[in-house]
Amino acid sequence: MNKKNIAKYIVLLVLVPLVVLLGAVAFDDKKYIFVSACVAVLSCVPFFMSFEGKKTSTKRLVLLAVMLSFSVAGRYIFAFLPHFKPVTAIVVIAGIYLGTESGFLCGALSALVSGFIFGLGPWTPFQMFAWGLIGLLSSLLSEFLKKNKIALCVFGAVSGVLYSLLLDIVSTMWYDGVFNPSRYLALFVTALPVTAVYAASNVIFLFLLATPMGKKLERIKIKYGL
């Protein structure tokens, strides 16, 4: 891990909670939602910057664009199954095989491009953050996840649940202006079937796609000379 990466993690794991805290104090803990949206966007900035700053090879750039298109196009392709979407699975695969940065960007940009197409909304920053984080985590665990398919599926299920939990927090704050535990519980319970479908779709897609897609990515990396 080089210095740049360390700086990235510092921003993500230290600076972000700090801003949340400051925001809570400064805004009299009323406007969490706006502060957290700012934080979510802020946490993407270091990745965007480092992507802009260094010379990522053109080929990696194209691969990122392809994975990104897949995660968004997957929403159309599996439109006949509500909530059963391969977005998270593809973000995880991108994280495992293309590295930290591509993993995060694939996640964050998937949310953004979905917004371009299906409409941007208050949820977009949080989706960016959540999927970005999933991509990032999967790349950090890549060696482990590559070898162990069960772990991969568990990871998929867990990230599906965590994604839902996070976005439920957002909805709670969104509806109440503050975090209201009882509403959160209610939301969580009503969203349980959807969460279950999310988690199941992640598991199924990862189970079916991870190995073949991984092989294909490896083949392309060799063909490209990456």
Partner: protein, 297 residues
């Protein structure tokens, strides 16, 4: 209605972005019912004049239940407030919480509507132009993805059909179907990755690795853009000033505060109201102008 038919969409992306940023910022940060109602009105009116009746109906079907859901559920979850109406499971349902719920519902719907308007006005071209200024490389990735998504959709159809024609595609049960789709998806991945080799070659061949890239976009900053930007800035500044002075403060708990009606507060309301209604006003103005022009011809 086509995007080209929305007059407001013809402004420069920077102007539009700045306008919506200010509007959303104020809407999210205030609890003042006057401000929130004017934001909601702005959203509804703009939506009404730029959308077809069919789409408006569909939007109403989405927003009315959402409004009811947010406003009705708030008293269930929030028990603050000094005026209990009745008790439910030993918890008081208060007037304040109920009205606060309505206020929140106005806010939620207003923000959603404004976001919707933003999405319709800012098509991908404009977003890319904005992004391109901040981060040209990311803009390239996004542009590539936007090209690739419809291509993938089409290719997906082609491969599905090719497999069907070979008697390869089973759709009898859910799992057959998933397995068939996964197989095609995997073939689609192969195609996309293999053709990405050519895309990268085509980029390199046209000098993508050269230093000193410049960003280009078709959007021109016109005088009209300047006027709109100045107007937005002025109205936002007045609103911000009013909010910072506390003219638009409003609280629900423990008791509902009164709506401030001193002259500064009214100026603040007027400024924000104009800001929120700008797209609608502009839309109507342009429509009238066309009518007038046509009558002259």
């Amino acid at each position: 209605m086509n995007r080209n038919d929305i007059a407001f969409a013809r402004f420069h992306p920077t102007v539009l972005f700045f306008y919506f940023f200010c509007l959303i910022l104020f809407t999210v940060f205030t609890q003042n019912p006057v401000l929130l109602l004017s934001a909601l009105c702005g959203g509804i009116l703009f939506c009404a004049v730029t959308n077809t009746a069919k789409k408006n109906l569909a939007a109403a079907k989405l927003y009315v239940p959402m409004f009811l859901l947010v406003s009705m559920t708030n008293p269930i979850f929030s028990h603050s407030g000094a005026t209990p109406l009745f008790f439910m499971n030993d918890n008081p349902v208060t007037l304040e919480a109920l009205l606060c719920g309505v206020d929140l519902a106005v806010q939620v719907c207003a923000v959603m509507l404004i976001c919707g308007a933003f999405s319709r006005v800012m098509e991908s071209d404009k977003l890319l132009a904005l992004f391109g200024k901040l981060s040209p490389r990311l803009a390239t990735v996004l542009s590539m993805a936007l090209r690739f998504i419809p291509l993938l959709k089409r290719k997906w159809g082609e491969i599905c059909e090719a497999q069907r024609a070979l008697g390869y595609f089973r759709e009898e049960s859910f799992f057959d179907r998933i397995a068939s789709y996964a197989r095609v998806f995997s073939a689609l991945v192969t195609w996309a990755l293999e053709s990405s080799v050519d895309t990268a070659a085509s980029m390199s061949a046209r000098g993508y690795e050269l230093a000193g890239k410049k960003h280009f976009s078709l959007f021109r900053f016109t005088r009209g853009d300047g006027i709109m930007l100045a107007l937005t800035t002025a109205l936002s500044a007045v609103t911000l000033f009013g909010i910072l002075l506390g003219k638009a403060d409003f609280d629900f708990y423990p008791r509902i505060s009164e709506i401030n009606t001193d002259i500064f507060a009214i100026i603040t309301y007027a400024a924000f109201g104009t800001l929120a209604l700008l797209p609608f006003i502009f839309e109507v103005k342009e429509a009238l102008k066309w009518k007038y022009l046509r009558s002259k011809i």
